[in-house]
């Protein structure tokens, strides 16, 4: 009997190509790791989630679903679980607690979770323990909070499995990398104003460096909206809307450096810095704050870029870009790429599960 594995994902895997999210990268990583241990690996996406993503994306272009993606209405999930042979289900995200409870009757469950998500739900201790207890294996994505997860799930053998996107093979004819790419989580999660102000000062003094903004366009009433608008007036600055996965690859091809424009204090610092990790995987050095998850990732040692403790300033950005241009982070990027490859090929992660 073949050993099958299903990765239940809230984001579409990157090769679907509509758009990339942290969930997409995480699902792809889990699938890659599962392929080391199982005969067949498929993504499961709930139809309701798919429709949400289609509406958000516009649905007009890039609408295809490949063979390794199973789309199932949420209401039919229980019947789906009963219909297929016993398999391993990996749930990526705490919102799937109920689905995991359903699948558990027939299948083995792996729970991939950031523990603060459980905290966010204000669950009573026994309920939290019950959710954690539904799973044979717990994966912790965040190094910073792994200790807490391990404590909560002492008897469940929690495993730290940090985010590790696919390291890109550097092209032999490498494109000219000229652009400083800015990115951040939605501004509600942190105050991007100091970073945008510093970037504005940087662009005023460095007209020769292309700056590409990938963070969400602010609502006109947001406090940093004016600064964002002023920044986009510079001729070398381009603000992009959401990119398809292919175009994200194109972006990293021309990226000289990546700046994660999040200041400390917001909950963004508790989110995984997926864009920063994606940049590193693409061979692009990163500038981020010490409160972000990228700064704490065990895969980034030595750190392929710069970590700051205070607010961003133009001189820090300029020094970082200058060092990136000089190739000062090449060795650290190579080490990080090797670490990512190693963890993605960690064949023992799902050992013993059938």
């Amino acid at each position: 009997m073949s050993r099958d594995c299903y990765v239940v994902a809230s984001g579409l895997p990157p090769h679907v190509g509509w758009q990339l999210r942290g969930e997409s990268l995480r699902a792809e990583q889990l699938a890659a790791q599962a392929r080391c241990a199982f005969d067949r690996v498929q993504y499961v996406v709930f139809l309701e989630r798919l429709n949400l993503l289609r509406n958000e994306r516009g649905g007009a272009v890039l609408n295809t679903v490949p063979d390794d993606v199973v789309v199932i209405p949420a209401g039919a999930f229980e019947a789906f679980c009963a219909r297929i042979d016993p398999s391993v289900f990996i749930f990526s995200g705490s919102q799937y607690g109920q689905s995991a409870a359903t699948a558990r009757h027939h299948h083995t469950i792996v729970y991939d979770i950031a523990p603060e998500r459980l905290d966010d739900q204000n669950l009573p201790d026994d309920e939290r323990a019950r959710i954690i207890g539904r799973h044979e294996t717990l994966l912790g994505i965040s190094a910073r909070r792994f200790a807490r997860l391990a404590e909560q799930a002492e008897t469940h053998g929690a495993i730290l499995n940090p985010l590790a996107p696919t390291p890109s093979a550097r092209a032999t004819t490498e494109p000219v990398r000229t652009a400083l790419v800015e990115g951040a989580s939605p501004p509600a999660n942190g105050d991007p104003l100091p970073a945008l102000r510093a970037l504005f000062d940087f662009t005023a003094a460095h007209a020769d460096t292309q700056v590409i903004l990938t963070s969400e366009r602010p609502d006109p009433s947001a406090p940093h909206s004016t600064q964002f608008g002023a920044l986009t007036l510079a001729s070398q600055v381009t603000a992009l809307l959401t990119l398809s996965n292919t175009n994200r690859g194109d972006l990293w091809d021309i990226a000289l450096a990546y700046m994660e424009a999040i200041a400390p204090g917001g909950s963004a610092c508790q989110e995984n810095s997926w864009q920063a990790m994606e940049a590193v995987a693409a061979g692009v050095p990163i500038l981020c704050h010490s409160a972000t998850e990228a700064a704490a990732s065990p895969l980034l040692d030595p750190f392929p870029g710069e970590v700051i403790d205070n607010d961003f300033d133009a001189q820090t950005i300029a020094t970082f870009v200058e060092r990136a241009r000089a190739g000062a982070y090449a060795a650290a990027l190579s080490t990080a790429g090797d670490a990512m490859k190693k963890i993605r090929g960690h064949a023992r992660l799902f050992d013993g599960l059938t």
Binding site: G17, Q19, E56, R57, G58, G59, A60, V61, L62, N63, T64, P175, T178, A179, Q210, I212, T232, L233, S235, T238, L240, L241, T242, L243, S244, N245, T246, N247, D250, L251, D253, I254
Partner: protein
């Protein structure tokens, strides 16, 4: 469906009628032409005898005055970087539709964003003498007979179908950027794949949209697409001719399956139907 009124020889009418220029009282655009008079007062723009505008300070125009640009050709004078960004913002939000009847005089040291603005001219004479600087795409020549109002209406209706709330990169296979931005909102897009724009960091990006005259299907053939790609293909047919052959020609131009989004009839001229096919090659 609203049918546009045919208007012929817009260029000829421009050459013999009144052109009104608008600028602030602090600005001296230094642009002169026998047909051109300047004003500092926005109210003068509402004069029905004016057939075209030269706008030097677009940022000063009210919404009501901007609406006038929908029906009359406009020459936009860009003197400052903010002028360029302001025009780009208006085009991004589709508050103005830039057509082949419009043009810019760019006096800033910065190049126009590729595919995101009307063609550039040096003087009003050049503008008055030449609309459709690059000519309509192959098979869509009757587009040249549409007035500014016709094209604005077409642009307003064509804004919706191919648009998703994502970043599009469009490739002009027909070398007619000024018509492309009429039938799709290139203000929200970034041009790529044009050998003459190698300075753009996005030039090597994989396109999400191809712009191609419906008869120019040879230009569509090529290597396997790296991602699903939308197609915008303007066409013109003798009135009474079915449109299915046009769709079939596009659908079979590549190996990838073709999904038709919509076909818009944008204007009915006396003897010709002009429209645009919107679809997608699915990867």
């Amino acid at each position: 469906m609203q049918v546009a009124t045919p208007t012929f020889a817009a260029a000829a009418s421009l050459s013999s009628r009144r052109v009104l220029g608008f600028c602030s009282s602090e600005t001296d655009p230094g642009i002169q032409h026998p047909q051109l008079t300047w004003t500092h007062h926005e109210r003068d723009l509402f004069d029905p005898n004016v057939s075209a505008y030269v706008i030097a300070d677009m940022g000063l125009l009210s919404d009501a005055a901007l609406a006038l640009l929908a029906g009359r050709p406009v020459l936009i004078v860009l003197s400052r970087q903010s002028d360029m960004r302001h025009m780009a913002l208006l085009a991004f939000e589709r508050l103005i539709v830039l057509t082949p009847h419009d043009a810019v005089i760019n006096r800033t040291p910065w190049p126009m964003p590729e595919g995101c603005g009307p063609h550039s001219v040096d003087t009003p004479s050049h503008w008055l003498a030449q609309q459709f600087a690059s000519g309509p795409p192959q098979g869509a020549a009757p587009y040249k007979r549409l007035s500014k109002a016709n094209l604005t209406e077409a642009g307003a209706r064509a804004a919706t179908p191919p648009i998703a709330n994502v970043q599009h990169f469009w490739r002009d296979l027909s070398h007619c950027a000024d018509l492309a931005q009429t039938v799709m909102p290139t203000g929200r897009m970034i041009a790529c794949g044009d050998a003459s724009h190698t300075s753009s960091p996005f030039n090597h990006f994989t396109p999400t949209v191809l712009f191609c005259g419906a008869e120019n299907t040879d230009a569509l053939s090529g290597d396997k697409l790296r991602q699903s790609t939308a197609l915008v293909a303007p066409f013109a047919l003798p009135r009474g001719t079915p449109v299915d052959d046009v769709i079939a020609g596009l659908a079979t131009a590549r190996d990838e399956p073709f999904q038709l989004h919509t076909v818009l009839v944008l204007a009915e001229l006396q003897d010709v139907t002009v429209g645009c096919v919107y679809g997608e090659f699915v990867v």
